[in-house]
Structures are given as structure tokens and as C-alpha cells.
Symmetry: C2
Subunit: 182 residues, 2 copies
DNA sequence: AGTACTTATTCAACGGATTGCGCAGCAATA
DNA sequence: TATTGCTGCGCAATCCGTTGAATAAGTACT
């Protein structure tokens, strides 16, 4: 429901092409909302039809032409309206956790293997978020306070996950010992 | 993609009706995967067509009749096959976080108000998860190890969120002071 | 020279998910 | 007595999202 609003948030302070937005969805906002380029182009089309954004055509040579979108008055109004009404709690859909819940069917070693893969991913994210956050520190984080707070959310989330992974490791190792000693 | 697998996990150790499953999706597994009753009934129909589950008709008096589903051999095979292949990382779609990212458009007070609403929800969840976890403690948590680990994930997640909320509060209060002193 | 990646947009098909509705009867509360 | 809530199942329309592909020209690497 609010891919549109995520796009409007991004267009708030910059004019951008669909391609630009897709890149940002892979990085900054991606922390909080995922979208593929197909979705973004589609949504930009709809937003344009509804006069929430407008674009100008930029011919380029060497590269394909692009459309630079900017938010309109109506778009900003819509965004503000949306910001005012309470957000629905996020739906949780974590396939890996479904596996954990059904873990009794697997053997510990294969769970641990996948746990490590997921942990690698989390560690990677953690260090990129930390790098971005410390870059903000240097320049004073008051200007980009909300970017900073978003990053903090990501950081705390990864840390909590990694801490949980520790618990899983020790619990499964203990279980392994019990089953082999019998 | 894996609502079906979440259902199969639940049917592993109990026979259940669509209604029973819906309740569990609102509680235990809901921690990890959300689904509405419409989705569940639809998926049960498909699973039945594919012989992953079968059901028996239970007439009841006072209450409407129900269908009690149980997992079949084929269902268990499918589940095990799915458990073996790596899970895709969960897509993140958190509308409230989009609001935070676009927070510069709102005033601090309305952000703080919604933050408190969300915090209430998290605190509520935290205490129900903790209650469930301590119930497992008493009976020894080794038998239901994976339920316990799933609960721990939920607990750590809520705690991390609440910790983040603290950071947001102090950051926004500081910001408030700065803007009023100018 | 061939392969692969980046910039840039778009379409089509399919499947998953949400929203809204409908039926039906019992129990409990206001 | 009216309303709300619980148990229990289901359909239909629509929307959202994913997957896969196509086009097109430049750059960079092997």
C-alpha cells in the first residue's frame, strides 16, 4: 500500500529517475522497504496519472534517455495526509523462521549451516549500516537526523539477530551433545 | 511462497481445522508469518488438491461442522524438501519506518505520539512472548526447543525495537529544545 | 573479438494477498 | 431484547508483487 509513499518521500528532496529510485531502494530506503525496478516504474506511471508527480524528458547521448520525476503539490499533500494517519503494523513473513519453527524435522547441522549463511548476510548489512552511520557522525547527524535514526533501527535489528543466532548455536550444540551421548 | 509450508509445519504435530490454524497464525506462528483466514482456507484447498493434506468431516452440534486436516506422506516429503533448500531473505516492508525516513515533513509531537502507540504494541507482544517462554521454562524447554527459540527471536526483536524507541525519544526531545530555543 | 556490466525504460503473465461480502447458529453481555 | 463475539466455512474482485523478457548503446575486462 505504501510503495507510493516511499517514492514520494524520496522525491521530497530530489528530482530523480526511476532508475535512480531503484538504486536507492536497493540501498538507503531498502533498509525499510523493498521494491524492484518494475514495481517502481509502474508506480511512477500511476503517480503521474494521478498528478502526484510530474516528469521532464531528458535526452542523453551515450546513455538512454531518461525521465526525471519531481513531486507536485498534490503529491506532497497526499504524503502529508498519509503521514498523519496511523500506520498498520508490518506483516511478518520470514521463511527462515518458519524453518526454525519446524526445526524438529531437520538435523541440527543443516540448520546451523543455514544459520551461518543468514548470519553472514546480517553481519554484512551491519557493517554497511555502521559505515553509513559513522559517516553521518562526522558531519553532525542533526541535519540528517531521520536518516540516522533509520540507520540505527537497522543496526539494532542486525545486532539483535546476531545475538539470537548465538543462542541458537549454543542450544543446538547442547542438543547435539545430548543426542550423541545417548 | 511458503504459507503452504507454514501450514505444513503446524500440521506436523496436530490435526487441525482451518479455523484452528487461523488462530495459531494470529498467535504462535504469527510471530513469524502472518496470514488471514481466507488465505488459509484457500491454501488448504490447494494443498488438498495436491494430496499434501487430507481431511475428515466432523459434524458438531451447537457449532458449525468442521474439517480436520492432517498432513500426508507427500506433504511431509514436500516440507522436508523445502526445509533443505535455502530460504530467501525476508523482504522488509515497514510503513512506520517509511514515515520515520520521511520524518522531516512531520512535527516531532505527532511522530512521538505514533511511536508510543507502536511501543505499546511491542510491549504487549513482549510480555505475551515472555509469558509463553517462561511457561516453557518450567516444563523444561528441551522438548519444545524450536518453539522456545522462535519465542526468543520474538523477544529479542521487541526489546531491540523498544531500545530504538528510547533513542528516538531522546533525539527528538533534544531537537525540540533546539528549535524552541531559536 | 567476445562477454559482462551499467544506464534506462517498459510490457506481459502469473500467482499471491487483501478487501469485502455472505451464510449460520450459539453464547454472553449490555 | 439488541448487539457483540465466537466458531466455522467459503467466494469473488481487485490489487500487489514477482518473474521473465525485450530493447539499446556505451564501457570495461579477458
Amino acid at each position: 500500500m505504501s510503495l507510493r509513499h516511499a517514492i514520494l518521500v524520496l522525491l521530497q528532496d530530489q528530482e530523480a529517475s526511476g532508475y535512480d529510485l531503484a538504486r536507492e531502494f536497493a540501498n538507503s530506503i531498502g533498509l525499510v522497504w523493498n521494491a524492484t525496478h518494475q514495481q517502481i516504474y509502474l508506480e511512477l506511471g500511476k503517480l503521474n496519472d494521478q498528478n502526484m508527480v510530474k516528469f521532464r524528458h531528458i535526452p542523453q547521448d551515450g546513455k538512454p534517455d531518461k525521465k526525471l520525476y519531481r513531486i507536485t503539490e498534490e503529491g506532497r499533500d497526499e504524503l502529508i495526509r498519509w503521514l498523519r494517519k496511523p500506520a498498520a503494523p508490518p506483516r511478518i513473513r520470514d521463511a527462515f523462521m518458519v524453518k526454525i519453527a519446524g526445526g524438529a524435522l531437520s538435523d541440527s547441522s543443516s540448520i546451523l549451516r543455514e544459520l551461518e549463511d543468514q548470519a553472514d548476510l546480517r553481519r554484512e548489512r551491519l557493517s554497511t549500516f555502521e559505515a553509513l552511520a559513522s559517516k553521518l557522525d562526522e558531519q553532525g547527524r542533526d541535519k540528517d537526523l531521520f536518516t540516522y535514526l533509520t540507520l540505527r533501527r537497522g543496526i539494532l535489528d542486525q545486532q539483535a539477530w546476531l545475538h539470537w543466532a548465538e543462542e541458537v548455536r549454543s542450544a543446538l550444540n547442547k542438543r547435539e551433545l545430548l543426542s550423541t551421548s545417548v
